[in-house]
């Protein structure tokens, strides 16, 4: 299995406060890795180090290395915009632009100059909407406002928007936590479908969701990586007592 992302000895600080301690792990290509752990354990912070989203926080400080395809993304001279195009992100709360469905998806393609013609742009929008399993539901109303979509549809629109700029990795920060079970199921099916083409990292509080969609699971606590294992192993016979206690609800 080829490693897509290799994290070595990563420490992370918010000012003097250390949020992540010496994290090392490898994320294999075209697999789904789930990050689980109690609130405040650092899993979202860790996720955001993978496309340098934490750069926007002035007091944030990172040490250690994060390599994607053997390239250190924290090396001086790294094109952060290109990095974030390659490593797309989907957030807990869907955040479509106040524009039409079409424009939401076309925006990233346009500003990155990915398309060769207007027809190509439209093809790419359709492809992204199909890949995010939204096309059939929106094809007749592409020019209506994105805010007219349901919560689940808006979240899939955000996934389409991320896919449109041809990323290689997709980071998802609790992508289904605000959705009902049916919309959640659609997102989960989509994750499983998307891993054929993309490497996916998903933060979730829903243990069953991690079990259903991921190939490997990483359990974090108090900024430390407690266990990183195959999901099947993690949920039937974890190696660490702390993992067992967490996944069986012995502490919250």
């Amino acid at each position: 299995m080829t490693s897509k992302i290799t994290i070595s000895n990563l420490d992370f600080f918010y000012g003097k406060e250390q949020a992540l301690y010496n994290i090392s792990l490898e994320i294999p290509e075209r697999q789904v890795v789930a990050f689980i752990g109690p609130s405040g354990c650092g899993k979202s912070t860790f996720l955001r180090t993978l496309n340098r989203m934490n750069d926007t926080i002035p007091i944030a400080k990172v040490s250690g290395t994060v390599k994607i395809d053997d390239k250190d993304i924290y090396a001086p001279g790294t094109d952060v915009v290109a990095l974030r195009r390659m490593v797309g992100m989907v957030f807990q709360k869907s955040n479509p632009f106040p524009k039409s469905i079409y424009e939401n998806v076309a925006y990233g393609i346009r500003i990155n100059g990915i398309h060769s013609s207007k027809a190509d742009l439209t093809d790419r929008v359709e492809k992204a909407l199909q890949d995010s399993a939204l096309w059939d539901e929106v094809k007749d109303r592409l020019n209506t406002s994105a805010f007219g979509l349901s919560g689940g549809q808006q979240q899939r629109l955000c996934i389409a928007r991320a896919l449109a700029v041809q990323p290689e990795v997709i980071l998802m920060d609790e992508p289904a936590s605000a959705l009902d079970p049916i919309a959640t199921q659609k997102i989960e099916e989509l994750v499983v479908e998307l891993k054929k083409q993309y490497t996916i990292v998903i933060v979730t509080h829903n243990m069953q969701q991690a079990a259903r969609v991921s190939d490997s699971t990483a359990f974090f606590m108090l900024g430390k990586l407690v266990e990183y294992n195959r999901t099947q192993k993690m949920f039937t016979n974890p190696e660490e007592r702390l993992t067992e206690d967490y996944i069986t609800g012995r502490f919250g």
Partner: protein, 220 residues
């Protein structure tokens, strides 16, 4: 450690399977006693009590499914519920074999006794010992003892072959004893099957403790 809703349910499930285990063990012991001591009343009691064992099986099934569906157990909790759900029908089948032995006892007790029941007491003793040890090992989640019990299945198999040959000789020497010998052959087969089932329980004990599947593998 916080108190969890699932803990209480797992405790009830544990109590229920231990009761079933106790009832099954008693059924096997009584059935053999009914045979060796020619006590048909005791044999009838075994048959009556089998109904209660069947009910226990249904209750454990219902409860296991409910815990899986509503509590969604993981890790050791999951392995425990799965082990209970798989051991329960095994115990019920062992009890069925005890009932079959009791039925044979009722018939045989009306026939003249043919010499001492050859190797039976040893075979029955081994089966009962293995069953009791397997149930203790389940309670204590002891994989080492479970592995020891698995090895003992060979003792029962060896006894079975001895009994089989002795009964065959008896039939040849004394054709009038054929009916009795044929019933005894079935009893021997029931005991041999009980040994196999106890082995299955022990394999599940190892799964419960170590999450390892040793069934169908040469390595114990």
């Amino acid at each position: 450690m916080e108190h969890r809703i699932i803990d209480q349910q797992l405790d009830v499930l544990r109590d229920k399977i231990l009761l079933l285990g106790g009832a099954t063990e008693a059924a096997v012991n009584r059935a053999m006693q009914a045979l060796t001591e020619r006590d048909s009343e005791l044999a009838k009691r075994v048959l009556e009590e089998d109904r209660a064992i069947n009910q226990m099986e249904l209750e454990i099934d219902r409860m296991s499914i409910e815990i899986l569906a509503l509590q969604q157990p993981a890790a050791h909790d999951l392995r425990f519920v799965i082990s209970v759900a798989k051991i329960t029908p095994i115990l019920e089948r062992i009890a069925d074999h005890a009932s079959n032995i009791a039925e044979a006892a009722i018939i045989l007790n009306n026939e003249p006794q043919i010499k001492n029941y050859v190797d039976f007491p040893i075979m029955a003793q081994t089966a009962a010992d293995m069953l009791r040890t397997a149930l203790d090992a389940f309670t204590n989640e002891d994989a080492d003892i479970s592995r020891e019990v698995i090895k003992r299945d060979k003792e029962i198999d060896a006894s079975y072959h001895r009994v089989f040959n002795e009964l065959l000789e008896l039939m040849i020497e004394n054709p009038s004893a054929t009916t009795v010998a044929a019933h005894l052959l079935f009893v021997a087969k029931h005991l041999e099957r009980i040994g196999d089932y106890v082995k299955d329980i022990c394999e599940l004990n190892v799964y419960l403790r170590e999450a390892a599947f040793i069934k169908h593998s040469k390595q114990v």
